[in-house]
Symmetry: C2
Subunit: 1007 residues, 2 copies
């Protein structure tokens, strides 16, 4: 007997072609002609635009290259759906589904996205909520349950954990443990990373179902009946901690052909009246029986599953359920009357998984990244190219560090952060906006321009109460009320306060659990400045005059090195010493003719430039005496002009590289700038492509700050600009320069892949380990998610910009013009050189610093003390002692009126750092660790904090590598919290804030 589990579901993108609100309410995507009395389009110059424009320009991860997996079997599906999709209206979907479920108790439905469900829930009446919370959870077995269905490649793992926590918390608060999803449901993300699987396992999920996998991989798995397997997602964590049962769905997440009863489909209804000319049930039942039997051949148990849903389906659930009811009745009647061997039922992912588990089979185990995306079909990627040759680096936006800073300060300052002299502050709106951004159509860069704009609006709206919170908290912790000012455009040297004031304060907040030293760089008016540290001592500073386009005034930048304690802040004061008078002595950029000997260096690193081309030529680690010849330059692809028949256009989902690759320039004009604090080579490749290669004093890495755009009209044909690093020692003849040569960059997603494939380390997705040259290894850290590849040994390409004129016909429906704020991009690549085996200590800690770089807050100074008579505190640490370098404070956030959420992470993998012993287990004492509160009680939970760890019980599977024992939960002692390599431990801490926490005690006072 074959049991067919029907899974009615809807897939609701939290923003894609339409915005989140448009999808929720069913608003229009396109702006039509509106009458005078009718609401028109939103005015283009919303206040948020200016403030966040640069922040977004700074984060061009959106709409950067991703390779989507699309289903070769249904080439027309997406384009068919596309025109109709614009209606998608989640409010009606949920109304309709709930009503249909209540009408007939045997029906089931899978719902996933809490960003939508929670909104709908809060709009229901109390009565509906009360009856609903009792009855809904068994009917809607929520799957996944995150705020969104996150992307797995462009996201930061911390943001994944946060967004899952947000969604699962809503479910727990609303439906109790009954509402807890047992199964993860990542049916649409364009490839699947091992780290995501590891996180889901640590969240307590019993298994995951996937939609999109490589089409060749899937065919092979079908034959081998390995579409269902156990994924061993970590080499560090003790199995089965990171083992996750994984099922690949038979038809992505679509219904079988001819069995789609949605307004978005056009299939025949089930008509069982034999007298009707529309009578269809006999043929449909025959078809279904045949289909089920065929599908069953690719799976191992006597159960098989059919996904009965799709993008924004079930706006009229009655259509679906009415036809499914009939189909079920008719198929099962066939079984009873004519002895067919097929039984069909409404089911849930968890129920299907339960049946798989009961089958008691031994399952294939994979410890690699089996579900990495490569390609949707032969047209978009050459067959046979080894997937190990591909790499992708991606990172969540983790925008401007702000969300973590906001949550930490809310935890450290307690209720005073929420209600204070600046008004009502709240970290939740930004947290939600950030969660929305993790959606697989958001951070991945595959949403439409208006949706990108709306994400910016959401961030801006979330940032407002966050800024209030930040000011309240700083006032509380520093004991002084100031006119705090945050400059979101600091990265492009715009900051009104520092540029117009003769004296000002710079508060620098460090969200890491260790002290950091950081170069602070601020645009200023011309002049000489005196910078004092929190103790009032002068610190060295430079004013740089940077090269500007012809005719523009030089723009001075003040540079000084700041030191900030763990989880705390330092306040530096800046004052003009003498306006204009020292101008002659300021370091200026000196144009350099290419000649031997253009070199920048500090104590650790020396970079040499090619005298002919002006390109980087060699990097040398002076301490370790490592030398690596390397060339770096910019290329562009003609990526959307169809040179070739049946050419697949590049766009949001597809990177097609069968166009030509050409250098932006064969040489760069260079300027040289040297000061005691920094040495810079400014490279000018073209009017719209430049780069600063920089060495700060005391830094162990080389910084490449590139600026690309706007790409001019005449080169608009469809360009993908890449920055490439190639090692001369292995310089191969580049096949890319030959016009018409096909080569693919199937950028695999998967945050764990970058370093994870070999080491199983936690994801630091902005590190690009370049191929190792004997005993040396070059590592490139990016400051955001970027497409990348290493198709030839010794070469690495990173995508920095693209502008494409044509849609790729994969559903988005608009080209990637990147006009306006997206037209130019500035980013940084940090390059480290080290001996093999010693790289981890360097790049992991550097990556941590980059991901959670300090938040700079300015103030004019002279604020009033909060408590008369008390002096202002100019330096503060939330920790009484720093955490060891292997431990990352992943989360410190409010969890309730007197509760905090705390996540501690061992950020090194097993065996990763042999030299400094950073891969060893580490034990912490949480007693008296924090300076502003006392932990009165600690409960350990699963990773998403929605169930106590002690009571967690996952389904047990037998891998083909042999049975694994159930891991024991270590006893919880506040004084001895041990972290194994790669382990993240999550705690809900009951706390008591110390009322005297802000009273200056051991911190230096400023006059």
């Amino acid at each position: 007997m074959l049991n067919v589990h029907l899974l009615p579901h809807t897939h609701n993108d939290v923003g894609w072609v339409k915005t989140v609100d448009q999808y929720y309410y069913g608003g229009k995507h396109s702006v039509g002609v509106a009458p005078d009395t009718h609401p028109g389009p939103p005015t283009p110059s919303e206040p948020w635009t200016a403030e966040w424009r640069q922040c977004l320009a700074w984060a061009p991860v959106w709409r950067r290259v991703r390779l989507a997996l699309l289903v070769p079997e249904c080439p027309t599906l997406v384009s068919t759906v596309r025109n109709e999709l614009h209606h998608g209206a989640v409010q009606y979907i949920l109304d309709s589904v709930i009503s249909a479920l209540r009408a007939e108790p045997s029906r089931r439905f899978v719902y996933v996205e809490m960003a939508f469900f929670s909104r709908w829930w809060h709009q229901q009446t109390n009565a509906t909520q009360q009856t609903g919370s009792e009855r809904l959870s068994p009917l809607i077995p929520f799957a996944n349950g995150g705020w969104v269905m996150n992307d797995e490649a462009a996201t930061h793992y911390g943001a994944i954990v946060d967004q899952m926590t947000l969604g699962l918390r809503f479910l727990r608060d609303t439906f109790g443990d009954d509402g807890r999803p047992r199964v993860a449901w990542h049916i649409d993300p364009f490839g699947h990373s091992r780290e995501q699987a590891s996180l889901f396992a640590q969240m307590g999920f019993d298994g995951i179902f996937l939609g999109r996998v490589d089409y060749q991989d899937k065919e092979l798995r079908k034959i081998k009946r390995e579409l269902e397997l156990v994924w061993r997602a970590s080499a560090s964590l003790q199995p089965p901690t990171a083992d996750l049962f994984t099922g690949v769905l038979p038809n992505v997440y679509d219904p079988p052909r001819y069995l789609c009863w949605d307004r978005l489909c056009d299939d025949k209804p089930v008509v069982d009246n034999p007298n009707s000319p529309e009578h269809s049930s006999k043929e449909l039942v025959d078809y279904f029986l045949n289909l089920a039997t065929t599908q069953h051949r690719s799976y191992r148990t006597k159960h098989t599953v059919m996904t009965m849903g799709g993008d924004f389906y079930y706006e009229n659930a009655d259509m679906w359920f009415k036809n499914l009811d009939k189909l079920i009745r008719l198929v099962n009647a066939q079984q009873q009357a004519k002895g067919s061997r097929v039984h069909v039922l409404y089911s849930t992912p968890a129920c299907y998984l339960w049946e798989l588990n009961k089958a008691n089979l031994t399952w294939t185990t994979s410890s690699h990244t089996p579900m990495a995306p490569t390609s949707s079909g032969p047209a978009t990627s050459p067959a046979g190219r080894p997937s190990s040759a591909m790499s992708a680096s991606t990172r969540s936006l983790n925008l401007c560090t702000a969300p973590q800073v906001c949550k930490q300060l809310e935890a450290l300052a307690g209720p005073a952060a929420n209600v204070g002299p600046y008004g009502s502050g709240d970290s939740a709106p930004l947290d939600k906006a950030m969660a929305v951004l993790q959606n697989h159509q958001a951070v991945s860069g595959t949403s439409s321009q208006q949706v990108v704009d709306d994400y910016a609006r959401q961030l801006a709206a979330g940032w407002r109460p966050c800024k209030v919170l930040l000011s309240n908290a700083l006032a509380r912790l520093s004991g002084s009320q100031e006119a705090f000012s945050i400059c979101p455009e600091l990265n492009i040297s715009v900051c009104p306060l520092s540029q117009t004031s003769a004296r000002f304060q710079v508060a620098i907040y460090n969200p890491l659990a260790r002290k950091v030293d950081r170069m602070v760089r601020l645009p200023v008016s011309a002049g000489a400045f005196l910078v004092k540290d929190p103790s009032g001592h002068a610190v060295p500073s430079d004013v740089l005059l940077l090269p500007q386009p012809e005719g523009q005034k030089p723009s001075p930048e003040l540079l000084f090195s700041a030191s900030v304690p763990a989880l705390g802040f330092s306040i530096y004061s800046v004052a003009v010493v003498s306006q204009q008078k020292h101008q002659g002595h300021f370091p200026r950029c000196i144009p350099q003719k290419p000649r031997p000997g253009v070199i920048i260096r500090n104590k650790y690193i020396q970079a040499t430039f090619n005298p002919k081309t002006g390109f980087l030529m060699q990097i040398e680690d002076l301490e370790k005496q490592l030398v690596l010849p390397v060339s770096q330059s910019f290329f562009w692809y003609d990526a959307s002009t169809p040179h070739i028949q049946d050419h697949q256009l590049s766009e949001a989902y597809i990177l097609s590289t069968d166009g030509m690759q050409l250098p932006v320039n064969s040489s760069a004009q260079i300027h040289l700038l040297k000061t005691p604090l920094v040495q810079e080579v400014h490279q000018n490749f073209s009017a719209w492509c430049s780069q600063v290669v920089r060495l700060y004093r005391g830094q162990c890495h080389l910084e490449l700050e590139w600026t690309v755009g706007p790409i001019p009209e005449d080169q608009w044909r469809g360009t993908t600009i890449q920055s490439t690093l190639e090692f001369t020692s292995r310089y191969p003849p580049s096949p890319r320069a030959s016009p018409g040569t096909e080569w693919g960059v199937p950028l695999t997603g998967g945050i764990s892949q970058v370093l994870g494939a070999g080491t199983g380390s936690p994801p630091h997705p902005h590190t690009h380990p370049a191929p190792q040259d004997g005993k040396k290894q070059l590592t490139v850290l990016t400051d955001r998610s970027q497409g990348g590849s290493s198709l030839q040994d010794g070469s690495l390409e990173l995508m920095v910009h693209c502008r494409l004129l044509l849609d790729d016909n994969r559903g988005l429906g608009e080209p990637l013009l990147e006009e306006g704020s997206g037209s130019w991009v500035r980013g940084r690549h940090l390059v480290l050189l080290d001996a093999v085996g010693k790289v981890a200590a360097g790049h992991r800690l550097l990556a941590e610093k980059e991901a959670l770089s300090p938040q700079v807050v300015l103030a004019p100074g002279g604020g009033t003390p909060q408590q008369p008579g008390h002096a202002r505190r100019t330096q503060f640490s939330g920790l009484r002692r720093e955490l060891p370098p292997s431990v990352h404070l992943l989360t410190l956030a409010r969890w309730g009126p007197d509760k905090l959420l705390l996540r501690l992470e061992h950020q090194f993998a097993r065996g990763e750092d042999s030299g400094c012993n950073l891969s060893s287990p580490v034990t912490l004492n949480l007693q008296n660790l924090f300076s502003t509160f006392t932990i009165t009680h600690l409960q350990e939970t699963t990773l998403a904090a929605n169930q106590p760890r002690a009571s967690t019980s996952r389904l047990k599977w037998t891998p083909d590598t042999g049975p694994v024992p159930t891991p024991k939960v270590p006893p919880l002692d506040l004084a001895t919290i041990t972290l194994q390599p790669m382990e993240i431990r999550t705690f809900v801490a009951s706390v008591q804030w110390k009322e005297d926490a802000w009273t200056p005690r051991d911190a230096p006072l400023q006059a």
Copy 2:
């Protein structure tokens, strides 16, 4: 204070672009490519096709010319809706609406079409039905309540009454008197006849709401605030019997612009969350207030109405009601908070009408046909052309007399008709199929070809149990069991039994309440025949050899005159006397060179033909010595080629006559045929256009039997073939022959218009009274609904065929190719000449005979007697005495196990027949009237038989012609039933069938 009544509703065409079943289930219109395992398209050669093909060809009323009223304000509406409309799925609409109504008790919804609702109702569970029947009727105030929303022009009034009776009976049986619609709702028919209004008044409706009226008329009424009025729909019936309050809806039946929340619309949802970027409620409320105030200016009371629905809207009712709920709340909050003067509410047509009635105003009264359609806009009809110049003749299919014969025999033979030797017989399926045909998109000819085919299928399916019933009843009433055979293709001289048998029986059933004499014409094999009447006496007969195309054998036809008693049958026997031997003596067609003296004549009429052209030249009434010169020929319009800029193409909804009009030929070849029983002139205009002008012995009218088609490819450009009659005495220079001259034939519908406008007579829509020439009047009776016009005094045009290549873009979406069975058409025009004032007696009685012509049933003879020893009865009458000529037996049908429905109609208008006194009131005695049953009790009801006449109470209105007294219900006495001119009285009779009814007693016996 202004009250805005929102009327949520859906308009569900009972067949249009899709078939009835496709609309009900939501099936597809277009036939897609189906996989092997999937149901494919229906096989084209369904058994019904052959049988009904000729029947449909005989009834080319379908898809004949109609002029639609479309809304000039919304030119894009129809075409927008069109592409989406194909989904329309009534099963989901009703599920969805009922669910939405139950969720929120303040909501209301109007439902109309019982063909759909009853089907849905029968598919509900008993539990749903039980709770539903208590609760639904207050929520869904059914409007109209007919089986369909019938056409008002192409329908026969008897068929209208039948279909309304069917629908209203379902409502009464299901919901009791609570379910009775108070308001008629004809929002889509393409023009409105006075007779329809009269019928609705007599059915007890309190008022009617209309959607489509002439755009100029509407503008005028807006200014004069006469969109609401009292329609005095009969000049014969005592007011207010036929007075009907009539309201013209403000926006046809569509929602106001920007306020449509259906999947078929694209309007913004109401979003009242001010923080959402989709926030729209403020603008929408402002817009709504402005709209309501503006609209109100065209109406007289402090109430106004908005139709919130459309074609197949509300498939997802939640979308509508959720947004309407919000709109109502917000608008009314505005009223309370800011003192706006607009109050909005969910309402019903009856509730709105009730408020109009309570306003206690004096209303404009119209006794003309104020809602006759003329045009949708200036493009389709020249402005200023007097509407009195237009006429249209239309008639329901009333297909092959069969439905009435079937119902009468079911009533006369009693239960023996239903269960008998031939199986189970039933009149209901054909009754329902006929009701479906009355739909305004069906009989009007505006449905798609596949829908026309499906209507044929429904008729065929209905005809099967009807044939069984007919055989059972004939066996019962004749006392003999025969192999009865009905030849549906008799009209094209195909009948296997008569063509192959040497002897056979001809049973002729007469559904009229008076004896008829009828020429019977049967195709036979060659030979001489002896025909005997029911008494066994030989009657005169001819065998005609009719002209055939070159190379085909002559096709002999047997002709004899039969006499059939009232509501009964006569059985004639036919036997070959001698095969072939008399062939030389048979009358043959003799080709005639045009020469003076081609004349046909009988005792009453003489027709003379033009010696040059072969066209009819003169008609003479020999008895009355009336002579009328007349010319008749065929013309064609180039109707769909755009000669002119912005040309409106002709098609299903539009007749555009700005193309050229050209004669099919300037002369006709003629053949002459004369026998004792008939004289015929066969005119051949072209290979595809011919006509027989015929005079039977003893007939007072001339018969023109025309045959047109298939229209050959090379003249395919888009042709509308007209038969025109022009009186030479007034022959004007025809403006139509000038190319490019614009002239319009805005064919007004309105069954009562043809004769009704002047006389208020009951509708006999197949009579065409031509303009009167002094004291003479020529009348043309058509055998089906046809487009017609009399644009010039003395001329009359009737459309006989059209074939159009392009769609008119009014929603149907396909051209009028009329391939297959519709490619050729044969029809008859009966021409009467009489003195003015004496026409009515002639054409009304002739029309009655044509509408209910006898049903011919053949049998081989030699059947077994039903009761051994009893002889067969060869003649039978259901009436013991004939009814007087002014009384028409409109309905005799089963109404329950021992009940019959009886409708008696006075078929002359007041003062119509001064000569013979046929317009006088007439009194009948129903006691012992029927021969097979006794009436034991009689209850009079309203016209649709859904409420007792005595308890009927309609709203009272004050017309501006002065108050009218409430008419008294006459006491009911079986022996003295008096009918006033034009009156129809409806009775439910309890009856007892006589067991000995079939025993031969006073009928002649045959050996």
